[in-house]
C-alpha cells in the first residue's frame, strides 16, 4: 500500500511537483503519465526517498525519514529510467546488490539472500545468464536484470520510471507483462510512469495525469484518456479507439502535413 499525501518537491528553488495526492492499494497498478517536464520522474524519486519533499509519503502505513534508507529499501523498490549498469559486473553480483538492506551493512550476503536471489533469477528467466557480465547482455536482458535487482528487495511497493524507454516493442511488452504478473502473484503495489498512453492504459488500474507538477486528473484509463484530455494536457491531436485491454490512443497527423505529403 502506497499513500502519497499532498506531496510537493522543489529542485533548485523551482517547484517541480506541487501538492500531489494519490493512493495505490495492494496489488494495484497506478500509471503516471504526463508531458515532458510534468514532474513524473521527480514524483517517483520522492516516493523512493531520493529527493526531499514536503507532505507525506506512507509505505505500508509508515513514513520514512531521509536517513532511513535501509528500512525504506525494504518497503519500496525502484527501477530507474536509465539505470547505470557496471558493464563488467556479473548478473548475480548485480542482482544481489538489491539485498543490501537485508543483511548487515558491511557483512556478506546470507543464505537467505542467495536463495531469494536465485528464486527471482529463475522467475525472470535469468538463471542461465547468472554468470554473464551485464555488458554482454541484450537490452531486454539488462532490463530484466534491473527488475530482478528491484524484486529481490522483497518490497511490497514497486516503483518503475519509464521501464521500457530503451526497449523495442517486444521486449517492452515482455518486461511489462512480467511486472504485471509479479504484481498479481505477489500483491505488489505498482507505481509506473510511461510515455506511451496506450500501453499505460493497458496495464494500469488507474492513471494519474501530471501537468506542470500538479495532479491534473486521476481516474480509470477510459475516463482519463479522452481526445479532449490528451489535446489539453499533451497538446496532441489523437483518436481514442476502444481496445481489448483499454483505450488505444492513436495520433492523428496534422491535415497540413497530410496535404503536403499527398501533393508530392
Amino acid at each position: 500500500m502506497l499513500e502519497v499525501d499532498d506531496v510537493s518537491v522543489a529542485l533548485g528553488g523551482t517547484t517541480v511537483v506541487s501538492h500531489v495526492s494519490a493512493r495505490v492499494p495492494h496489488g494495484a497498478w497506478l500509471g503516471v503519465v504526463g508531458p515532458n517536464g510534468a514532474g513524473k520522474s521527480t514524483l517517483l524519486r520522492a516516493v523512493v526517498g531520493l529527493v526531499r519533499y514536503e507532505g507525506h509519503i506512507r509505505l505500508g502505513g509508515r513514513e520514512y525519514g531521509p536517513g532511513e534508507l535501509r528500512a525504506r529499501a525494504c518497503a519500496v523498490a525502484y527501477v530507474p529510467q536509465r539505470p547505470l549498469l557496471p558493464r563488467s559486473m556479473n548478473v548475480t553480483d548485480y542482482v544481489l546488490l538489491g539485498r543490501s538492506a537485508h543483511h548487515s551493512y558491511l557483512g556478506p550476503e546470507t543464505a537467505r539472500d542467495l536463495s531469494v536471489t536465485a528464486g527471482v533469477l529463475e522467475r525472470l528467466e535469468l538463471s542461465r545468464l547468472a554468470r554473464r557480465a551485464l555488458g554482454e547482455l541484450s537490452g531486454g536482458e539488462q532490463q530484466r536484470a534491473v527488475l530482478a535487482r528491484a524484486l529481490v528487495q522483497e518490497a511490497p511497493v514497486l516503483v518503475m520510471d519509464e521501464p521500457t524507454t530503451s526497449l523495442d516493442i517486444g521486449h517492452a511488452q515482455l518486461v511489462l507483462e512480467l511486472a504485471d504478473q509479479l504484481r498479481r502473484d505477489n500483491g505488489l503495489s505498482v507505481l509506473c510512469s510511461l510515455h506511451d498512453l496506450t500501453v499505460a492504459a493497458q496495464f494500469a488500474d488507474d492513471l494519474l495525469v501530471l501537468s506542470g507538477g500538479r495532479a491534473a486528473l486521476l481516474g480509470k484509463p477510459a475516463e482519463v484518456l479522452t481526445e479532449a484530455n490528451v489535446k489539453r494536457f499533451f497538446g496532441a491531436s489523437v483518436e481514442v479507439l476502444p481496445g481489448l485491454a483499454g483505450p488505444v490512443v492513436s495520433p492523428i497527423r496534422h491535415a497540413s502535413s497530410l496535404e503536403v505529403t499527398r501533393a508530392t
Binding site: 548485480y94 543490501s100 531469494v116
Partner: protein, 373 residues
C-alpha cells in the same frame, strides 16, 4: 516458468514474497567471493618478495647465513645465526625494516588506489588524487629547509611534517569541494584536489627555489621516493595508520561494488552512498598520507596493482581490495629490490622505478577506458 515466489499475506496483512528459501536453489548461485587460493597466492607472493628483499643487499652476505639469522628469530626453532654483529645489524636494522616498510607502503598505496577508483568511478584515480602528494611535498620541503640540520641524522621530523602537509592539503580539498547546496560530489572533490595540489606545489617550488643546492638535493631525493631506513622507527610510525586504514577499506569493499551503480541507485537499495564515500576517502587518504610521509612520492603503485588484479581476478572490489593489499605490498618490495640491484651499489630512486613501469601501464589503462567509454 517455475514460480518460486507466490503471493501471501503476513500477520499484519502485508503481501510478501513467500519465504521458501529451503525450496530455492540458492546454492547454485556463485556470487563473487574472495577464495582461499586468492589469499594463499597473495601471501606466497608477499613472503617470497620479503625473503628476496632480505637475502639481497648492497653488501654481500651468504644467503644460507641470512636464512639462519631469520630462522633464529622464530620461537621454538633453535637455530643459531651464522652472521657476525655487522651482518646481523645489516639484516635486522637495514634489510628487514626496509622490506617491511616497503610492504606497508606498497599495500597502502595499492589499496588506496583501488578505493579511489571505486569511489570516484574513475579507473585512472590514484592515491594522490586529492592533493596528498603536493601537501606532503610542501611539508617535507618546509621541514628540510627550515628544520635544524641535526634533524637529518636523528629521528627526523620530516615524516611528521609531510604527514601534516598531506592532511592539511586534503582538509583544504574537502572544504573547497563541498557543494553549496548539498554533499560533495565526486567531480567537485576532484576539481578541488587539482586546485589545492597546484597551489601547494607552487608554494613548495617557491620555497625550494630560494634555497641552496644542498637543501634542494634533499628535497628532490625525498620527492623521488625511497625506502632506505636504518631501524624500525618509520615502520612503527606508519604501521598503526596503515592497519586502521586497511581495516576500514577492507570492511567497505562490498560498498565499493554497490557504489558502481551510482549514488542514486545505491541509495534506492539502502546504501548511504555519500557516507560510504566519505569513510572510504578519509581512510584511504590518511593511510596514504602516513605512507608518503616516510617513503616520499612513489607513483603508479595505486594504478598498476589494482588494474592487474582487476584483469586477473575480475571487477569486484571484494577481491580487488584484499588482493591489492597483499600484491601491492609484494610489488613495492620487489620494485625496491630492483631499484637497488639495477645499478648496484647505487640506488635508483624508487619513484623512478615505479614510474618506468607505471607510465606505460597508465597509457594501456587509458586506452582501455577510452575504448569502453
Amino acid at each position: 516458468m517455475t514460480l518460486t515466489a507466490r503471493p501471501g499475506l503476513d500477520r499484519a496483512g502485508t503481501p510478501h514474497l513467500r519465504k521458501a528459501e529451503a525450496a530455492l536453489p540458492g546454492r547454485e548461485l556463485f556470487p563473487t567471493r574472495l577464495r582461499a587460493w586468492h589469499i594463499a597466492a597473495g601471501v606466497l607472493f608477499l613472503l617470497c618478495s620479503l625473503l628476496a628483499s632480505v637475502l639481497v643487499g648492497p653488501y654481500h652476505l651468504p644467503p644460507a647465513q641470512v636464512l639462519a639469522a631469520l630462522a633464529s628469530k622464530i620461537p621454538l626453532l633453535h637455530v643459531r645465526s651464522g652472521l657476525g654483529a655487522l651482518g646481523n645489524a645489516d639484516v635486522w636494522q637495514i634489510r628487514a625494516p626496509s622490506a617491511v616498510l616497503g610492504g606497508l607502503v606498497g599495500a597502502m598505496l595499492a589499496v588506496a588506489g583501488a578505493s579511489y577508483q571505486g569511489v570516484f568511478a574513475n579507473p585512472l584515480a590514484d592515491p594522490y588524487l586529492l592533493g596528498v602528494a603536493a601537501g606532503a611535498g610542501l611539508g617535507a620541503t618546509v621541514a628540510i629547509v627550515y628544520g635544524p640540520a641535526a634533524w637529518a641524522s636523528s629521528l627526523s621530523p620530516l615524516p611528521i611534517a609531510a604527514f601534516v602537509g598531506a592532511v592539511a592539503a586534503v582538509a583544504a580539498t574537502f572544504t573547497l569541494g563541498r557543494s553549496r547546496n548539498g554533499p560533495r560530489s565526486p567531480a567537485s572533490l576532484v576539481l578541488a584536489g587539482v586546485a589545492v595540489a597546484a597551489f601547494f606545489t607552487a608554494v613548495q617550488t617557491f620555497i625550494a627555489q630560494r634555497q641552496n643546492s644542498g637543501d634542494l638535493e634533499v628535497v628532490y631525493n625525498w620527492i623521488l621516493g625511497g625506502l632506505s631506513t636504518a631501524g624500525w622507527a618509520p615502520v612503527e610510525l606508519i604501521a598503526p595508520y596503515v592497519a586502521v586504514s586497511a581495516a576500514v577499506l577492507l570492511a567497505c569493499r562490498r560498498l565499493l561494488d554497490a557504489l558502481s551503480v551510482g549514488d542514486e541507485e545505491a541509495s534506492s537499495f539502502g546504501v548511504h552512498a555519500d557516507r560510504a564515500r566519505l569513510v572510504v576517502v578519509v581512510a584511504a587518504t590518511l593511510g596514504t598520507a602516513a605512507a608518503v610521509s616516510v617513503s616520499g612520492l612513489i607513483g603508479f603503485v595505486g594504478i598498476i596493482v589494482p588494474h592487474t588484479i582487476r584483469l586477473l581476478a575480475g571487477p569486484s572490489y571484494r577481491r580487488i581490495i584484499p588482493l591489492s593489499l597483499l600484491f601491492g605490498a609484494g610489488f613495492l618490495v620487489l620494485a625496491n629490490l630492483a631499484a637497488g640491484a639495477v645499478l648496484s651499489p647505487e640506488q635508483i630512486p624508487l619513484g623512478v622505478v615505479t614510474a618506468f613501469l607505471g607510465a606505460p601501464f597508465f597509457l594501456v589503462v587509458l586506452r582501455q577506458s577510452r575504448r569502453m567509454g
